[in-house]
Amino acid sequence: MSAALLPLVQLDIRSRRGGTCESEDGFCPDWIVDNLDRYVSPLLEHVVLTMVSVGIGFAIAFAVALLAHRREWVSAPVGALTSVLFTIPSVAAFLLLVPLTGLGPLTAIVALVGYTQVFLFRNMVNGLSNVGEETKDAARGMGLTERQLLWRVELPLAVPEILAGLRIATVTTVNLATLAFFAGAGGLGAQIYTDITFRSNVVVAGGLAILLAALFDLLILGGQRLATPWRRAAAA
C-alpha cells in the first residue's frame, strides 16, 4: 500500500537531444513561444484551485465571522485555530491530508481553504467590529433591527477590510497552490517541478503564477473601488 500513496507526479523524461534549448536548460524565447500550449491546462488547474478554494474559504469565514460577531466568545478560539493552521507548512498539510481524502484536487482544496481562513476570518471580524459605536448607536436609535444594522450598516462599512483580507487570501492561495501537486492536484507548480532546472520552463510557469496573483489582486482592488465610492470622497 505504500506505493499507492506516492503522490509525486510522474516525471516527464525529456528527450535530451544535443544542442537544443531543452538539453542545455537554457532560457529561449523561441522555445517558450512554441511550447506555450503545454502551460494552458496547468494554468487553468491553478485558476480553478484558487477560485474554488477562496470561494469556499470565503463562505466558511463569512458564516463563522457572522457567528463570532453575534457571540463574542467564538472569535478567540476560531482565531487561534486559523493561526495554527496557517503555521503548518503547506507541503506537510497537503501530504498529511492525502491518507484522509486521497490524491486529487479535493485534498488540495481542503488545505488551501484552511490557509485562507486566517486572513478572511480575521479581516471580517475586525471589519465588523471596527464600525464606530456612534454609528451603531445612531442606527439602533433610528429603529434599525439587528439584522438591518448588520446588512445595511456594519457589512457595507466592513467591505474595505473584508476585501483587503480577500486580496491577501487570494494572492497567498495562488502562491500555495504551486505546491498543490504534492496532493496530486496539478497546477503550475507541477509544471515547475517536472523540469526544475530548465530555465525557460521555470520562468514561464513561475511567471504565470506571479501574473495570476497580480491579476486577481488588481481585480479585487478594482471591485473594492467600485463597491466603496464613499472612501474616495474628499474630506471637508
Binding site: 464606530g132 456612534e134 454609528t135 451603531k136 448607536d137 445612531a138 442606527a139 439602533r140 436609535g141 433610528m142 429603529g143 434599525l144 433591527t145 438591518q148 450598516v153 457595507p156 462599512l157 467591505v159 466603496t228 465610492p229 464613499w230 470622497a233 474628499a234 474630506a235 471637508a236
Partner: protein, 409 residues
Amino acid sequence: MADQHRQAAVVEFDHVTKRYDAPTGRDKGKPTPGAVNDLSMKVPAGKICILVGPSGCGKTTTMKMINRIIEPTSGTIRLQGEDVTGSPPDELRRRIGYVIQQVGLFPHLTIADNVATVPRLLRWDGSRTRARVDEMLDLVGMDPSIYRGRYPKELSGGQRQRVGVARALAADPPVMLMDEPFGAVDPIAREKLQNEFLRLQEDIGKTIVFVTHDIDEAIKMGDRIAVLRTGGKLAQYASPAELLMYPADEFVEDFVGADRALKRLALQRVRDIDLWTAATVRSGEPVAEARRKIAEADIDIPLVVDDHGRPQGWLSERGLAGERVRPELRSRAEPLVELDDVLRDALADLIESEVHYSPVVDPDGCLAGVLSLEVISQSLHVPPERARTSTELVEPAGDDAVSAEIEPA
C-alpha cells in the same frame, strides 16, 4: 411652514429605576455610574426638557430608556399615555428622533440616503422620501441641490450635526432625543447651532428630551430643566428661571453656579418685570397738569414725548418754569431699551451709559415704562409663583401642556 407637521407627545416617567451591578474592588461603595433611582416626571408636549447633571448621574441612561436602547429595571415610561414597552423597540424607535454628539452619520451613504433612513425603514414610496429629504435639508439650512449627493466625510462638523438633526426629523417623530448634540463642535459653531435649533423648534414644536452637562446650555435651550444628581436621583425639575432663583438644595445651587443671578438676567426680558412709571409731558402742555402727573409717577423727572408718545428726552427744571412746558431737555432719552430686550443687555446699556434710568419702549416706539438698576435688582427677588419667563408666556393653554410638575416621589 410646519404647522401641518406640528405634532408632539407627552413623555412621562413613572417611578423609573435602572440598576446596574454594584461596583466592586476599588470603587466599591460608590454609586454606580448611569443608574437611575425612582424617577418620576412629565415632559409636556412640544417643550424642550433638558436633562442635566454631573457625569455618571444617569442623564443619558434616562434618555436612552425612552427609546429602549436601555431597558429600565422597574417603572414605566409613557409616550402620549402609551407604555413604550407596548411596541417592539425597532418600531418604537422609528417614531422617536435620535441625535447624538458624534452624530453617527453612516459614512457609506450619501447625505440624502442618510436622511432617508427612517422613511425607508417605514417603506415610504420613493418620491415621497425624496421630497421629504429635500424638505428636511432645507429646514436645517443646507441646500439640497449641493449636499444631497455628498458623503458625510465631505462636511464640516457643524454641517454633519445639521444633517443629523434633519435625519432625526425625517419621519416627523413627535419626540426627539438629543444626547449632547452640540458637544463636539467648537464654541462658535455651537452657539450658532443652538440658535438655529431654537428657531427650528419654534417651527416644528416637537417634544425634545435633551441631555447636556453644560448648565449654560441647559438654561439657554430648556423650557424645563431636570437636574439629576450622582446616583440617578432627580434633584430638581423646574423652569430655568425657577431653577436659578430657587435652587431646591445645595447641590443644585452649586451646580447652577455662583453666578446664577446673572444667568437669570440672560433669561428674562424687560417685558417680564414690573417697570417704573414716569410722567410723560408734551411741549406746550400746562405746567400744572405736568406737575400733577409727576407727583403720581414713580420717578420725579418727566419725560418729554412727541405726538406719537415716543420719548424725546428728560425735561429739565427750567422747562417747567413758565405756564406751559417748554422743551428744555436735561438729556436725551438714551439709552432706549425695548420690551423684548433681555435684562442682561438692558443692564449693560444702563451701566455703559452711566445713567440711573432708561426709558423702555414697545415695538411701536411708544413709552412703556422706565427701567432702573433698582427695578432689575427687585426682579431677582420675585417669589417663584410670580417668576415668569418669556417662553412660558407663549405657552399654549391646556392642561397637559402646562402641568409639568414633579410628582411626589
